[in-house]
């Protein structure tokens, strides 16, 4: 039997729908993502910790879920909001329906609401703190009380929460239609990857280019990393505000001083900026989608990128030794930076895609080239 659910926003709007995931109450920052495919990758992206994801495409769950498509060991998002859960999942790789997957990962989710209305509201008023509450007796007051206890993402260090407890080696290669995942071969470079909430596809793309990857916890010191004698260090994506991650900023500063080749994605990009003396800010409703045009300022080439961030680097704050390399054609915001005095660069969007177009994947090649020189 279908159970009712409510989505309540801090500004007071209530959406009534049905519960399609785990039962309970969940609070987070409500954001929307306009990607048409890849709901499972989105749900399992640790960067969504403490966020309730609204997917704007109405049918979500069409292809079910498969172990292969998880971007991490679990689901970090606080909830899922969709218009319609299909009656049947259809895809040759499907192992579990979306609803079963949500329940298995204890994710509270709501369907059958006017997600376009919600999206327009978030667009106009900015990302909102919100609460999904399941059950036929769910009421607004209870949800509002829960929301009041959540202070929002600003100032919140979530990387520490989602990171791995202990370092580990990663050797799995990228997915192919014919063979699925294989183990990497001839891994001649050693990359240490900081896990601030890393997506597996990033690690696989490094393996694909001949890297042996050591994934380390977010709080690992620069000295410990240097002791591993890496050819390069990767700064992963992750959730929350970069500013409170002072431990990471300190480590990056040291690594930069040691001229270790550095490549950052998303939160990693913001941390590189902070370590270089730039500043970051919270965005109104962020960038979440798989259709964002980003221009390479050097070549003029436009790439369609996957995006997922609620904080951004202020371009006006860039010091002279940190230059802009990419910019969004949606709103002109800063999308990529490069140090002029150290072998370090970073990208705000997601070159690893998953979900999303593979247009920006060449940044991984740039990282390889940086390690080579």
């Amino acid at each position: 039997m279908t159970k009712s659910a409510l989505l309540v926003l801090e500004e007071g709007t209530v959406f009534k729908g049905v519960s399609i995931g785990a039962e309970g109450c969940s609070v987070g920052e409500v954001v929307f993502n306009t990607a048409l495919t890849g709901y499972q990758e989105i749900l399992s992206d640790p960067s969504y910790a403490r966020q309730i994801i609204t997917l704007t495409y109405p049918h979500i769950g069409n292809v079910g879920t498969t172990e292969e498509d998880n971007e991490s060991a679990g689901v970090f998002a606080s909830g899922l909001v969709i218009r319609d859960l299909p009656l049947l999942a259809s895809n040759w790789r499907s192992q579990q329906s979306l609803s079963e997957y949500l329940q298995a990962h204890k994710v509270v989710a709501i369907a059958d609401i006017d997600t376009r209305k919600l999206t327009r509201l978030l667009r106009d008023k900015g990302a909102q703190r919100g609460c999904i509450l399941t059950g036929d007796n769910a009421d607004k007051a209870q949800a509002m009380a829960a929301i009041a206890e959540f202070s929002g993402l600003k100032g919140l260090d979530l990387a520490k929460e989602v990171t791995v407890a202990e370092a580990y080696q990663w050797t799995e290669n990228t997915w192919t239609l014919e063979q699925g995942y294989r183990q990497g071969e001839q891994l001649t470079r050693h990359v240490v990857a900081y896990d601030f909430g890393v997506k597996r596809t990033i690690l696989r793309l490094l393996v694909n280019r001949g890297c042996r990857v050591t994934v380390v916890p977010a709080t690992t010191s620069a000295e410990a990393v240097l002791a591993m004698q890496p050819d390069g260090v990767f700064l992963s994506n992750g959730p929350g505000d970069p500013e409170p991650c002072t431990y990471a900023i300190a480590a990056i500063t040291t690594l930069l001083a040691n001229k270790i080749p550095l490549f950052g994605i998303c939160l990693g990009h913001q941390l590189l900026a902070l370590a270089s003396g730039a500043s970051t800010e919270k965005m109104k409703f962020g960038h979440h989608g798989a259709n964002h045009p980003v221009q390479n300022l050097a070549t003029g080439r436009v790439m369609i990128s996957s995006q997922n961030h609620g904080f951004a680097v202020k371009e006006s704050s860039l010091p002279v030794n940190l230059i802009a390399t990419h910019r969004s054609l949606f709103d002109g915001s800063l999308q990529g930076i490069k140090r002029t005095d150290c072998p370090a660069f970073s990208f705000q969007g997601h070159p690893e895609a998953s979900p999303g177009p593979h247009d920006v994947e060449s940044l991984f090649d740039e990282f390889m080239a940086l390690m080579q020189s």
Partner: protein, 1073 residues
């Protein structure tokens, strides 16, 4: 890179007449291209033979040539206009083929014209099967196993390697013309023979079948800096085996995970790069094995296409417009998406938050002998698109927009017995036009989803949605309207159920359901198409209805006029009506009204974003229109421009209090109602052919005795002469009444004395209540009895005496006043000697309105729209009829080549899909051009085969002598030959098909015949000569099945090469009145 400044003028090639596989989507793309290029300051020269297009309006391009689209004619235009560049990617296969021919014959080099948008190499690589397959292999993608054949022997050898079923694809044909799927040797040989004939390069691809695989289309745009975007992905509901134009398609793709989708995206971009499409839009078709995801590239089109038009309408991203700008050097990052008024850039991939479903519209009822099984050759003539927040909603909206008498998933067969089950299984396995409804019936009969999938191969995701709808129907059928709770009603509306379908299931009336729904406070809301899933705020006034919480319509309080469009194209109602709707919108917008368009045909210009102030992409049903009227509260609604579709809503709209402007629904009814109209004509002292109305067979037989044979018989209230026939005797009438129509008190049959040998005339006019403007008098070339839409015609008349023409003008004036016309009216007359008979009056836009507008320079639809809102003709300064000093000939174009087994004889039932126009100083020159534009290649000498019925023999010497004078040798069948010899005209005698060998068909097959004149009557004679006409069609030998047509062709023979090319602007310049 900004736009190129080394190019100043650009020649744009149109797509020519509407045919199956190439419809008004190319008017849409061509019109966008014209606007885009002129916006950038280029001089645009346009060639298109189709007068019913918006792109051929004189203010669309700097020089508009309504001329045949062949390289010889286009060379003349190039020599005269000396364009710097030619853009061939906006006019479908016609334009591509013409551009290649221009290049091959050295014309482009000679006049130093650069091909932009696509290179010759890219076109060849994409269109030539072998080159394409090699290219795909080179970039590491799979294609279906295949081999090229240039002869039947090679084809058979190739077939052995790929096995049955075998897919046969002729090279360089559009819409899969001549292709098919063969399950056995006999079918294989038949299709190959036809395909070899139809391929301009006599080349076939014999291909491994991937029947049952999932089929996808990707719409890709690329610029000169190699920036690539995917505008839209489309998934076919019908798996591989059905031509994508005949498939139900859904956007975006539904059953792909991100990993698969990105592979598909990568493939699509790689294909464009390898083929070398440097700038512009292309589509890539891919098949995916549902079992393991294996991917095969099917084909790509290096140009805008039907699906790019669909993708543009589905996403709010104007592919043709952007492609045109890219062709002149812009890059994607330099362009904005104007549909969203710049809220989104051109260099991104649209995200949509709704589901779009397209359903093709077929007209097999017009061609009973045609094979209606769907294969790789396209057979549909139109399509409807609908938008909903869910697949169910969009599917059901699309179904009711089809106008085929269904309001949703209506039952097609009574389920319950074994016969029904067998039928359902067969229809699911070998799909015809109604497979979707048979699938619904399969669920109704209790068949399991898995079994339905096994038979149909339709993806289970779609099937589950259908299953759910059928379950909802079953539940609804157990209820009554009064016990239906508001929440239940709301949920059903969210699934897309129409009021009418719910009414049927509840056993209530549509108005009761609507009334109850309104009482429960359930009305649709309107959401915007903004290309970005609401991520950015935009003012795009492009809306669709759905049942949700928030309405984004933001209705204004301006004075508004709603124009109801024509819905899906079909034979009898096509681009001509869309043309009129567009003109109404443009004129009234110029006059300061807020114009609102409602239409559901994605191919059209009327559904382009800048045609009207607001666009509601909605089906044209009473329910959908009433809801918009309720919301918008317009000053007036125009129902007279969109053909029968809006017209049949007129009465009900009026009854609901909707302000219909122009000629009143009652006047329209007065003209359509046989008995009322008869009384009116009697009062005006005008003649009709002797006629009667019969409500039973007995009545019909009695009436026939009074009237005398032959008789034109037809059901009342039909469009395009549906089920209209000429019967010659009582036996014929009996058969017609028993087999062809179901007659009853409410649907009587109309009998008209057939006027043998009468000249038919069409008159288009505008009346404003005081003054009449004659738009034009058109003399039909084929005699009365051939449907006016199928007949060629000349403006001004080429033979009719001036005093008779004046009488027609007077009669039209008296009828206009008596009917109370306010706006356009079309009258058809038959003239026998000095007697004038009124055949019919249609106080609304006619099929000929665009042709007359092009021929005279008067934009009739615009003038009429202004009359409808109260501006008199005098106030518009347009009162004098313009009679051009040149001839314009309109010729019809037929789909017979797509339907083997169908007799290409003309009759009272309309069968043409499109039209072309030829302009000349003499009638002969104009007719010659029209023939050429219609693809009829007249030779100036050769052998003519004449075989005619007795009734026409008196006319044969005149024609024969004209032919002899033109250096034609005559070959005739027995009776005709005797008559000719008796008249002293030498001729060779040849056997008819059943008389012996060698016969007429042998001669045609051997290429010995260059022209055929063949008239026939009577069942036996018709069936005896059928193969001859089919062979002529297959071998592209010009043939005329009426004496009048033959005579016109004789006039044309002297003028085959004489024609100068003239642009519309120059023609109209000399037309002061």
């Amino acid at each position: 890179m900004p736009k190129r400044t080394d190019i100043k003028s650009i020649l744009l090639l149109g797509a020519g007449p509407i045919v199956i596989g190439q419809a008004c989507e190319f008017d849409y793309s061509g019109t966008q291209a014209c606007k885009a290029l002129r916006e950038e300051g280029y001089r645009v020269i346009l060639v298109n033979s189709n007068p019913a297009t918006i792109m051929t309006d004189p203010d669309m391009a700097d020089a508009v040539y309504i001329e045949p689209i062949d390289w010889q004619t286009v060379e003349k235009i190039i020599a005269k206009e000396r364009p710097d560049a030619i853009l061939p990617t906006m006019g479908g296969q016609t334009a591509l083929n013409c551009a290649l021919a221009l290049d091959k014959h050295g014309v482009l080099e000679k006049y130093n014209v650069e091909m932009i948008g696509a290179t010759k190499e890219a076109i060849n690589k994409a269109e030539d099967r072998q080159l394409f397959n090699e290219a795909m292999t080179k970039i590491g993608y799979e294609v279906a196993k295949s081999n090229i054949a240039h002869s039947l022997e090679e084809a058979l050898a190739a077939q052995k390697e790929v096995g049955y079923p075998t897919v046969i694809r002729p090279s360089f044909t559009m819409g899969g013309s001549g292709g098919g799927i063969a399950y056995n040797k006999q079918e294989f040989l038949e299709i190959c023979e036809r395909g070899l004939e139809l391929s301009p390069t006599n080349e076939l691809l014999i291909e491994e079948s991937v029947l049952g695989w999932k089929e996808y289309e990707m719409e890709v745009v690329r610029d000169s800096k190699d920036n690539c975007i995917i505008v839209c992905s489309i998934e076919n509901f019908d798996p591989m085996g059905v031509h994508t134009g005949d498939s139900i398609t859904v956007a975006p793709a539904q059953t792909l995970s991100d990993k698969e989708y990105q592979l598909l995206r990568n493939v699509s971009v790689a294909v464009l790069r390898e083929i070398g499409v440097d700038t512009g839009g292309s589509n890539v078709q891919v098949a995916i094995n549902p079992v393991d995801g294996r991917m095969i590239v099917i084909e790509m089109n290096p140009r805008v296409s039907r699906s790019s038009a669909l993708a543009s309408k589905a996403t709010g991203f104007p592919i043709a417009k952007i492609a045109a700008k890219l062709a002149v050097g812009f890059t994607l990052d330099e362009l904005k998406n104007e549909i969203t008024k710049g809220a989104t850039p051109a260099s991104f991939e649209p995200s949509i938050d709704y589901v779009v479903t397209k359903i093709p519209r077929f007209t097999f009822e017009k061609f009973p002998q045609a094979d209606d099984r769907l294969t790789t050759q396209m057979k549909s003539v139109g399509e409807v698109m609908a938008i909903g927040r869910t697949f169910q909603e969009s599917l059901q909206k699309a179904l009711r927009g089809l106008e085929i008498g269904i309001n949703g998933l209506d039952e097609i067969i009574t389920v319950g017995d074994d016969y029904a089950l067998e039928r359902i299984k067969r229809e699911m396995l070998h799909p015809g036009p109604d497979r979707l409804r048979y699938v619904a019936d399969a669920f109704r009969s209790g068949m399991a989803l898995s079994e339905i999938h096994d038979i149909s191969k339709i993806d289970p995701w779609f099937l589950a949605q259908l299953d759910d709808l059928i379950k909802a129907e079953a539940t609804l059928a157990t209820k009554t309207l009064s016990t239906l709770a508001a929440e239940e009603m709301y949920q059903l509306k969210r699934k897309g159920f129409s009021d009418l379908r719910m009414a049927t299931l509840l056993g209530a009336s549509e108005s009761d359901v609507r009334h109850t729904r309104h009482k429960l406070g359930i009305r649709p809301v309107y959401k915007r198409i903004d290309s970005c899933a609401a991520e950015f705020s935009s003012d795009t006034a492009y809306l669709y209805s759905t049942y949700e919480e928030e309405c984004e319509a933001r209705v204004t309080d301006k004075e508004k006029i709603i124009i109801l469009g024509g819905g899906p194209n079909r034979i009898g109602q096509g681009i001509e009506f869309d043309y009129c709707c567009v003109h109404a919108a443009l004129a009234l917008r110029e006059d300061g009204y807020e114009t609102i368009m409602i239409n559901c045909n994605p191919e059209t210009v009327s559904t382009d974003f800048d045609t009207s102030d607001r666009l509601y992409f909605e089906s044209l049903t009473l329910e959908d229109v009433l809801e918009i009227v309720h919301l918008e509260k317009p000053k007036g609604v125009i129902v007279q421009f969109g053909g029968q579709t809006p017209l049949k809503l007129a009465r009900a709209l009026e009854a609901a209090g909707v302000p219909i402007i122009g000629t009143s629904p009652d006047s329209i009814d007065l003209a359509e109602d046989r008995e009322r109209f008869q009384k009116l004509l009697e009062r005006l002292n005008l003649q009709q052919p002797p006629n009667a109305t019969a409500r039973s067979l007995e009545q019909a037989l009695l009436a026939a005795n009074d009237l005398g044979y032959p008789l034109v018989v037809r059901p009342s209230y039909v469009l395009g002469g549906r089920a209209m026939e000429i019967v010659f005797n009582e036996e014929g009438l009996q058969r017609y009444m028993k087999e062809a129509v179901s007659v009853s008190h409410d649907s009587p049959v109309l009998l008209d004395r057939f006027l043998d040998d009468a000249v038919e005339m069409d008159v288009d006019a505008i009346y404003d209540g005081e003054q009449l403007l004659i738009g034009g008098l058109m003399e039909h070339i084929e005699q009365a009895g051939v449907h006016s839409g199928d007949s060629a015609c000349s403006l001004p008349p080429y033979e009719l005496a001036p005093h008779l023409q004046n009488k027609l003008r007077e009669q039209v004036a008296s009828m206009a006043a008596a009917l109370g016309v306010k706006g356009l009216m079309n009258t058809q007359f038959a003239i026998q000697g000095e007697s004038i008979f009124v055949l019919e009056v249609n106080p609304r836009a006619s099929r000929t309105a665009p042709f007359v507008s092009k021929a005279t320079g008067y934009p009739l639809a615009k003038i009429a729209a202004r009359v409808m809102v109260g501006q008199s003709l005098a106030s518009q300064g347009i009162t004098e009829e313009r009679i051009p000093n040149y001839f314009s000939v309109k010729e019809a174009v037929f789909p017979f080549v797509k339907f083997p087994g169908v007799d290409p004889l003309l009759g009272p039932e309309m069968k043409s899909t499109g039209e072309v126009m030829g302009v000349g100083k003499t009638f002969g020159e104009a007719f010659a051009k029209a023939q050429r534009a219609a693809g009829v290649n007249l030779n100036d000498s050769g052998k003519v085969l004449i075989s005619i019925r007795d009734a026409d023999k008196a006319k044969v010497p005149e024609i024969a002598n004209m032919l002899v004078a033109k250096k034609y040798e005559i070959v005739a069948t027995g009776g005709t030959a005797r008559y000719l010899k008796a008249a002293g005209i030498p001729c060779e005698v040849i056997y008819k098909v059943n008389e012996g060998r060698p016969n007429t068909v042998d001669m045609i097959k051997n290429g010995q015949i260059q022209l055929i004149i063949n008239t026939t009557e009577g069942k036996k004679a018709i069936s005896d000569s059928f193969t001859m006409r089919r062979e002529a069609l297959q071998h592209r030998v010009p043939y005329y099945t009426t004496m009048a047509g033959a005579k016109a062709a004789c006039y044309a023979l002297g003028e085959l090469d004489a024609g100068d090319v003239v642009c519309l602007q120059d023609l109209h310049k000399n037309l002061c009145c």
